[in-house]
Every structure is written in structure tokens, then in C-alpha cells.
Amino acid sequence: MRDVSLRGTKLTKTYNRRNVFAQIDFEMSGTQSWAIVGRNGSGKSTLVKIIAGLLSATSGDVVLTVDGKSIRRDDQYHYIGFVSPYLQLYEEFTAHENLALFSRLRGGSLDADRVDALLRRITLHQRKDDLVRTFSSGMKQRLKYAFALLHEPPVLILDEPTTNLDAEGIELVYDIIAEQRTRGIAIIASNDKEDTERCDALIDLNAARTPDSRRPA
């Protein structure tokens, strides 16, 4: 387990002069799980993308610290796992090819054992040589988890984690979240009570226009 922390300071996002959220503060560390809740359109996905380093905030910043060192935006991809309805995988490649690509890019070389193990965990091993184009939305969702977990990230960010999943899939997700809580930070953005009720802390975007929006669950 690595020493990891994420600090957000006065995060504000406006889009074409429309205020999405303002002055969000948080301090996540160690082995916590955080929930981000809010009405549709309250900016959950936006906030989550900002934390993952995929989007810039209009003002304020997010600092990721691992083992005492703050990580530059260019290097953040090593430490973050991300699942989102907006995430797309390469449909012209097979499941295995996708994961092999990710393993090589992020890890430097292909870790075949790890890829194999993950494929089994998400129960897609029999379909590993099928094109992702042929997958159902539930299968794609599960493959996204493999994408996120391949490099054992200390920070796992899940936007709408149980979309498209059947009961088994949902079990798997809760399993993954529980596991992540022993390894580092888990962040879950969702309106589903079941997804967020087990979290240690909460960011409520419904109240996001006031300065203090953090309260424990």
C-alpha cells in the first residue's frame, strides 16, 4: 500500500460563463473511500474528470501526492484508474489486444500474467480474442474495470460504477471497491444510494455553490 493523498483546493468550473460548481475543497488520503453525489447535471462527471487530470478546473487545483512527492500532471496516469460511461475502448481490437496495449503503454512492457488474471476476474477470459465491437454494454463495462485496474493504481475513480451491469457485475464492482479501500483511495460518483452508502466521506454537489460542501457520510 502506498502513501497517497489527493487535495482539492477551491475547485471551480465554469463552462461558457455558466457556473458548474464552485469552491470545492477536499482532502483525501490513505485508505478512504469517497462518494460524490448530486443531481443530474450538477457536475459529478466534470469534477471526477478534473480529479483524474482529464480536465482543467477554471480555478483552484488538485494535487496528487504519492510517497511524499507531488505528481506532475504528465505522470498522473501511472497512479490513477478511471471508469466512466464516457470512456471508450478500441472496438477494432480484441479484449486481449486492448489490455495488452494498455499494459505496454502504461507499464512499459506486456505483463501477460496480469492481463490474464484480470480477464479471468472480470469473467471475460473466454471472449478475450473477440473484437470489443461484438461485446454487449455490460461486457464493455467490465472490460473498463480491467483497464482501470491493470496497473494497480493507488487512486481508483469510478463514475456511475454499476451502469449496464447485471447482479453479478455489481457484486464484482463492490468487491473491487472493497479491495481498493485496502490499497488506496476510491472515489465513486453516483446517484445510486447503494453505490455510495458504504463510503467514508461525501462531496455533495447539490450544495456546491456554498463554500463548505464536505461532510462525512
Partner: protein, 227 residues
Amino acid sequence: MLKIVLGIWLTIVIVVAFAFPIVPQPQQWFEYPVIPGLEEKARILFFHVPMSWTTVVAFFVSMIYGIRYLKTKNLRDDMRSVSSAGLGLMFCVLATVTGSVWAKFNWGSFWNWDPRETSIFILLLIYGAYFALRSALEDEAKRATLAAVYAIIAGVTVPFFIFVMPRIMASLHPEPIVNTEGKVHMNATMLIVFLSSLAGFTALFAWMLQLRIRLARLEQHYYQKEN
């Protein structure tokens, strides 16, 4: 106040540009020498060159504000950048047109692809591309960022126009007045009028830029009030 000074200054420049006679052997202080090949048409020097100069200045002002935007992420800088570019486009059109008219009277055809002509044309294309890019982006932040980036890329290719083109193509532009080393062989009177025009046009650009920025800021306030 500046407006009035500017107005008077430029009026004087224009009058002097046209009124002073051109004679073969200038004796009086208000006479211009004859430049072989140009004679009366030399008067365009007082307008065409300052306009070309101003459009280049406007481009670099736009590029610099673009760079500032990338650092500050403040949309004000983007607004200054686009205001300057708009003026630059206008001066570029004027420069191209006056240059083209001059070319017709001097060398017989409206366009010849000599290096300077080509350069001003490329600048026109760059301005066009800049605005085309802006109109294809809706997100303000993205629009400002990509426009600034394009201005930088275009700016970086400018040295290539200046130094490469004359190498490759023979030039029709008058040598006796300004050659590529930048030395100026101009008669004193002409030089004074020319430099005054240059200063006048630059000041005109600066004044217009100020106006545009004020106008844009007012517009912004208005829209903010609405929301």
C-alpha cells in the same frame, strides 16, 4: 484628446503626401526627388508600407496576447488577441489592395507573385484561417487556447517568409528605397513624411485596438448583467 491629435496628425501626413511636388532635383525642403520607375506613383509609399507594417505588428500583438492567455487562462487576454487580429486583418486587406493597385500602375498587372506580394497574401490567409478556426469552436476556453496555439505556429513560420522567399523568387519591389539589409536610402523630406506616416498608422492601430477592447469589455458586462 488622443483622438484629435491622431486625426490632425494623419490629416497632415495625407495632405503632405499628396501636395508636395515631385521634381528631378529637389531644391526646396518641401520637394521630393524622382525615383526612377516610380515618379508620381511613389506617393503610395506613404500609405502602403505603413499599412503592411501595421498588419505585421497587429499579428505579433495578437500572438503575444495569445501566449499570455495560455499562461494566465484569463479570457481578457484572448479578447485582446482577437481584437488585434481583427484590426490586423483589416490592415492586411488594405495593404494587399493598395499593393495590388500600385502593381497595376507600375508593372502592368494586379498580381505577380513577387516575394513581398506573396508574403502579404500568406498573412491574409493566416488571418482567414485564424478566424475560421475560432468560428469552428464553441467552448470559449478551447477556442482561446487553440487560436493562441495557431497564432504561435503561424508566427513561427514568419521568418521563413521573410528570409526564404526572396531567395527563391526574384523581387519586383523597389530596391533603392529599402533593401533586404534594411538600409534606407531615402531623401530627407520623404523620410520624414514616411516615418510620420508610419508612426501615424501605428498610433491609429493602437487607438483602434483600445477602442475595440473597451467595446468588448462593455459587451461582456452587458451579457453578465443579463445573466
